[in-house]
């Protein structure tokens, strides 16, 4: 079962670390909000970054940019999703 893990809290926060630790091989991690500040994430699955949130913060994220259409596609592609906050 594939899972989309969404996280919106700052890198280093318990929610952020929990989200990263929960990602399995076929899963995807989607960085939203303050999580777009992340630059050195090591986890097993793919990593996307909400472009609008990164742009708002002046962040040049090293991860694949996602717009809202991508977000909807990601939700549909995975069996379930978890918002870690």
């Amino acid at each position: 079962m594939t899972c989309l893990h969404m996280v919106s809290s700052l890198p280093g926060s318990p929610s952020f670390e929990r989200a990263v630790a929960s990602v399995c091989d076929d899963d995807t991690l989607l960085l939203c909000g303050d999580a777009t500040y992340a630059s050195h994430v090591s986890c097993q699955g793919n990593i996307f970054c909400m472009a609008e949130d990164a742009t708002a913060r002046g962040v040049l994220s090293p991860y694949m940019a996602a717009d809202y259409q991508t977000l909807v596609a990601l939700v549909c592609q995975h069996d379930k999703q978890i918002d870690w906050g």
Binding site: C3, K80, G85
Partner: protein, 114 residues
Amino acid sequence: MNVIIQRHPPYSSQLASESLDIALGFAVMDQSCALLFLDDGVWQLLAQQSPSSQKNLAKHFAALPMYGIDNLYCERESLQQRGLDEDALIAGVQIIGLAESKQLIADATRVFTL
């Protein structure tokens, strides 16, 4: 299997209580579910809870087997990070490692977090 993840401490908000209600909802509908306590959610499992006005979560968790909910999982690493001992928890909780909790989430058909 439905998995309900508990990551919030009890009493400071309604999140723990509402999560318990979700579990009871599954029980009423004869749906199997497991409760997974991670991070600050492990505080919910302390045996010596005695809130004056809110419902006592520990007592409710202890009664869950009567509703057919036997799977209460608590992550060992979360306990260790908070200096908590397994002996301080209510009976019937299964202590699992980070890898096992990750697998539990991966295997779940549905996951609920509040």
